[in-house]
């Protein structure tokens, strides 16, 4: 009986493990190994030890990319805040609210390519809605996509749109699971709107806050699509991020080893978040 079950366990796990090892685990290890080589993708690889990393830390574009990822991370804090606000706004059971909730959520199901195009249009220096509005208000028009200082923020704004929608949904489910007795009891005790929010609702949603912040941090580090669609890292590499710089170095400059080193740094940053998450997940499950 026991061995039969053992065999069936193997059969059940085999396809998933096989595919996952082949396309995720093995490439991961090989990618890290590759970062110690100089390789143009065609000829033989040359072992260069830590040279790629040494070059990386002296590379001004890498510094820009890292700083931009950090900006992205900081600005993404807005997504949980806005998402929580929207969730509070739409958490009512009146007729028609289901449709309103769906429309608020819709940006999340659009592909980042479409979102990127939508915001390229929004920020377009000649025809964009932003300049229409600024012009209508009698203000000077702007060209943020062509600005070394602002182009990174146009992409962050684009990314915040679906990200806020995602946070809103997570908070809505969190609000739905709030124990009714708790809010009612607090009301009986005389808690007014703001103190109820601050001392009861917000602390009760702690597990949701954790997940929401994790989701946003992961998304901020993953940013690639918007850069590819909206700025191509420009003008003059001012809006590049690690994910895009890696792609550019690999395929446009044919520097596979250098690209692998950038990817490894990105992986290390992501790992910090993943370990925090796994620890939290399994620690809570054990309790």
């Amino acid at each position: 009986m026991r061995t039969r079950r053992g065999l069936s366990t193997v059969v059940l796990l085999a396809p998933a493990c096989l595919l996952f090892s082949l396309f995720v685990v093995y490439p991961l290890v090989r990618g890290i190994a590759l970062s110690f080589y100089e390789w143009n993708g065609v000829d033989a690889k040359t072992w260069v030890g830590l040279d790629n990393y040494r070059e990386l830390f002296a590379d001004p574009v890498f510094a820009t990319a890292l700083a931009n990822n950090f900006r992205w991370l900081c600005c993404y804090v807005a997504a949980p805040l806005l998402g929580f606000g929207l969730a509070l706004l739409v958490n009512q059971r009146l007729p028609g609210m289901q449709l309103a909730r769906s429309l608020f959520f819709m940006p999340f199901v659009l592909s980042q390519v479409v979102v990127g195009l939508v915001f390229s249009w929004f920020f377009h220096s000649r025809f964009g809605l932003l300049n229409e509005i600024l012009g209508g208000l009698g203000l000077a028009t702007v060209a943020p996509l062509d600005s070394e200082r602002w182009s990174i923020y146009t992409m962050i704004v684009a990314g915040l749109w679906p990200q806020t929608a995602y946070c809103m949904i997570l908070y809505l489910t969190g609000l739905a699971t709030l124990p009714r007795e708790l809010t009612d009891a607090a009301r009986v005790d005389g808690a007014r709107r703001w103190s109820l929010l601050r001392y009861v609702v917000v602390p009760q949603l702690r597990p949701v806050h954790f997940i929401v912040f994790m989701v946003c941090a992961v998304a901020a580090l993953r940013s690639f699509d918007y850069v590819m669609i909206m700025t191509l890292g420009g003008p003059y590499d001012s809006s590049t991020v690690l994910g895009y710089y890696m792609y550019e170095q690999t395929f446009l400059s044919q520097r596979y080893g250098y690209g692998a080193a950038i990817a490894t740094v990105l992986l290390a940053l992501m790992s910090c978040i993943v370990f925090a998450l796994l620890w939290h997940l399994f620690y809570r499950e054990r309790r």
Binding site: P27, Q92, V109, L221, M270, L278
Partner: protein
């Protein structure tokens, strides 16, 4: 309940609330409105500065007709379906099997395996890019639909396995043990008892993975290159290169590209939202 339910408040309070929601929604969807307006105009119209006014009537459907008949957009849509559907079916099948083994056959290292699945799913794509591309080239699948299907299946299996495992764990052991006493094998139990019981989870995770795979852009750039194979996300970007001078066409193409995921969302939103919130409880993606 928070905030205070407005159901029993006076009609004027409720009316005020509705106005507030409608106004917020209008601002929220403004970028989409802008591109929808652009999709109905001609480039000359835009150049003349006619932004809010009525477009030339003959123009209304022209951009959409051009996109649908004069471009490869329909081909790209088909390509996306031909990649996404097999990838979803395969992922859900393999992940349910693995989820069952991890939930009901505790063995040494089962928790570690689960952690590998979750961790692997959060790996940045760039860390896998070069080796996966090399591997796909080595097995002769570069620029084929199968390359995308295999990769998406492998990658999404991580998240999906955790999701299915958590659902299957909630099935009472008694039901499975009763069948075991009757002499049913584990695979029969999986097929006859487990799968029917987790149908709602399968619906949720399928919609979720459909959205992820459909919207993938990165791998569509890295693993394929010809127009005959290229999915919609990458295709749209190449159309944009073709229509550099005509934003209205780009706008129409973008909106058409958004139709399938939005339609799936409105048809199956109950499942999608259940999947998202459940998934995030266990694992953020």
């Amino acid at each position: 309940m928070f905030p205070i339910p407005l159901e029993r408040r006076s009609p004027s309070v409720r009316a005020g609330y509705r106005v507030a929601v409608a106004a917020t929604l209008a601002v929220w969807l403004l970028p989409l409105l802008a591109i929808a307006l652009a999709s109905l105009r001609s480039q000359e119209d835009l150049n003349r500065g006619n932004y809010w006014g009525w477009p030339a009537l003959a123009q209304l459907v022209d951009n959409y007709a051009t996109v649908l008949t004069d471009s490869r957009l329909p081909q790209f849509v088909l390509n996306s379906f031909l990649v996404t559907i097999p990838a979803v079916v395969g992922t859900v099948a393999f992940a349910s099997m693995a989820g069952f083994a991890l939930a009901k056959h505790e063995f040494r290292g089962s928790r570690l395996l689960l952690m590998v699945f979750i961790g692997g799913n959060l790996v940045p794509f760039q860390a896998l890019m070069i080796p996966v591309r090399d591997l796909i080239i080595a097995i002769g699948l570069y620029d084929s639909r199968l390359a995308l299907i295999l990769f998406h299946m492998a990658f999404q299996t991580g998240f999906c396995t955790l999701f299915m495992r958590n659902f299957i764990r909630d099935i009472p052991d008694d039901a499975l043990d009763a069948a075991r006493v009757e002499g049913a094998g584990e695979l029969t139990i999986f097929w006859r008892i487990v799968l029917p019981l987790v149908r709602p989870a399968i619906a949720g995770v399928s919609v979720l993975i459909f959205t992820f795979v459909w919207n993938d852009y990165f791998w569509s750039l890295v693993l394929v290159q010809s127009d005959a194979i290229r999915p919609l996300t990458a295709g749209l970007q190449s159309l944009r290169g073709m229509w550099q001078t005509s934003w209205p066409l780009v706008a129409a193409g973008s909106l058409l590209a958004a139709v399938p995921p939005v339609a799936v969302f409105f048809l199956l939103q109950r499942h999608l939202i259940a999947g998202l919130t459940y998934g995030a409880r266990a694992d953020p993606l």
